[in-house]
Amino acid sequence: MKIALAQISPKLGDLEHNLQIHIDYIKKAKKKNVDLLIFPELSLTGYTLKDMVEEIALEPRTDPLLKKLAGMSRDISFVAGFVEEKEKGLFLNSAAFFSEGKISHIHRKIYLPTYGMFEELKFFGQGKNFHSFDTPFGKTGMLICYDFLHISSSYLLFVGGAEIIIAISAAPGRGISDDKGYASTRMWELMGETVSHFFQTFVIYCNRVGFEDGKSFAGGSFIYNPGGQLVAKSPHVDEDFLVKDIDLEEIRRFRKSRPYYRDEKPEITLEAFKRIVARYED
């Protein structure tokens, strides 16, 4: 199976321009016989939208732009990010999985960072669930940025049967040392390594690049195999088109040698959670 990551810099608030970027990359990927192409978080809109959120939102069932994109997914699958108006006046930070000529799944970001430089809860509603859904490549789960930094998100996808975890992101870099790249990039890799190793899934992380209001999106997209090994990585802060062959058989291979998935006990976790949550007090 061939995977491609489009580490792009969308233009803030310009759907038409960003649609063109998507079309260009989809064509490029098709030429290279890519099976699955990943775009970053809010790839169709840009990230720092603030009050533009409600002006740029799309309604997946009727929107012509999304229909046009869906039409391009007959011989390639791809993931793109957009602002979804799920119900009237309810705006969500969403990721769509395009495959076989339609949107086959939408994940709505659950963990909306609202601290320090982030203010997503001011502008977005929260998603409500993590789903592992069927794709031509096996069960897959999608996460958006800060979702991925909560290990329970990947755990739920793993327990739900996911073999591939796709995390799309618009993560600004922060903190520097004498290392090349931002210090924060390590945090994403650490999670990618951990999740892929212990949940024995492919982890595909696609971040964006470019500046918005001084925020510098760090890039550093990557792919980990189900054994926790880094198999491909994009550069820091530069635009990139990363194409990599992966072997889905590796899932079976790693799960045979260490049966974490077989031995997982979600019902015990569930009962323990119920007891813990029941004891919550203010």
Partner: protein, 270 residues
């Protein structure tokens, strides 16, 4: 768009008083042009601080704005403000003799920044806080000179549309000739905001109110019968002037960055 001018007056005089006391200032200073906005601001300041604590700088360029300067002077005297008149012609003329420039907009901007520079100097000399006079219409359209007339310490009129400032002016007994005067940015003699913008403030404010306060989309505004050309122009001006409403962007490098995630209130430690 109607305001209760009595309430707004009370609110803004309290604001001016409280802001100055927080920052340990007794006096306020502002540039008085002879136009509506600075006249209203001067009235509010006089009521908030007492006229003896308000310094009005009248900063004309040559004789071009003779009548406006005269109106400003009368206005300041009527209110009992401390008044100084400083002719900015020598500074402006020296500069443009050395670096000639035909564009009257650029000349006007330079004048606006000369006035700003004098205001800041006198602010320090007199220990007086600078009161801005930009209204909401100007801020949204970007109809002001960045680091010129837009520069100030506090901006009392920043959330009132031009037509609302006019309502407040009537309530505050600003002389009729100032209220009825054609609005001008004073960038050159005979300039009129409304002919330069190609729209009256009444029309502009109606569209701004629909778009900004009521959050209506372009489509919705058009469906209410506002002309396409006007709406297009107004929304374009808003979008094109975003930079005037922000501090300059700082590229984020470290773990904590001014403006990004080093966040304290303006009123910190006051």
């Amino acid at each position: 768009m109607k305001i209760n001018p009595g309430f707004v007056e009370k609110l803004l005089t309290r604001f001016i008083k409280e802001e100055l006391s927080k920052f340990d200032f007794k006096k306020g200073i502002l540039g008085l042009s002879g136009g509506l906005d600075s006249a209203v601001c001067a009235c509010l300041a006089a009521r908030a601080l007492g006229p003896q604590n308000v310094i009005a700088l009248i900063l004309p360029y040559k004789e071009t704005f003779g009548r406006d300067a005269q109106d400003a002077k009368e206005m300041a005297q009527g209110l009992g403000l401390q008044t100084r008149i400083i002719d900015i012609s020598p500074m402006i003329d020296t500069y443009f003799t050395l670096h000639p420039m035909k564009s009257r907009i650029l000349k006007g901007n330079k004048m606006a920044r000369e006035r700003m520079s004098i205001l800041y100097d006198f602010s320090a000399r007199e220990k007086a806080l600078i009161l801005g006079t930009s209204n909401k219409t100007e801020l949204l359209l970007g109809y002001g000179t960045i680091h010129g007339d837009m520069a100030c310490a506090i901006n009392p009129l920043g959330d009132l549309y031009k037509t609302q400032v006019r309502q407040l002016a009537r309530h505050m007994m600003v002389p009729d000739k100032i209220i009825k005067k054609k609005p001008t940015a004073g960038l050159w003699a005979g300039q009129s905001d409304e002919s330069e913008l190609g729209l009256s403030y009444t029309r502009i404010d109606k569209v701004l109110y629909q778009h900004v306060d009521l959050k209506k989309s372009k489509k919705e505004i058009l469906s209410e019968g506002f002309p396409d050309k006007d709406v297009e122009k107004i929304l374009g001006l808003i979008k094109g002037s975003e930079f005037k409403r922000h501090l300059p962007p700082i590229p984020k490098i470290s773990a904590r960055t001014v403006g990004h995630d080093f966040l304290y209130p303006y009123d910190r430690d006051k």
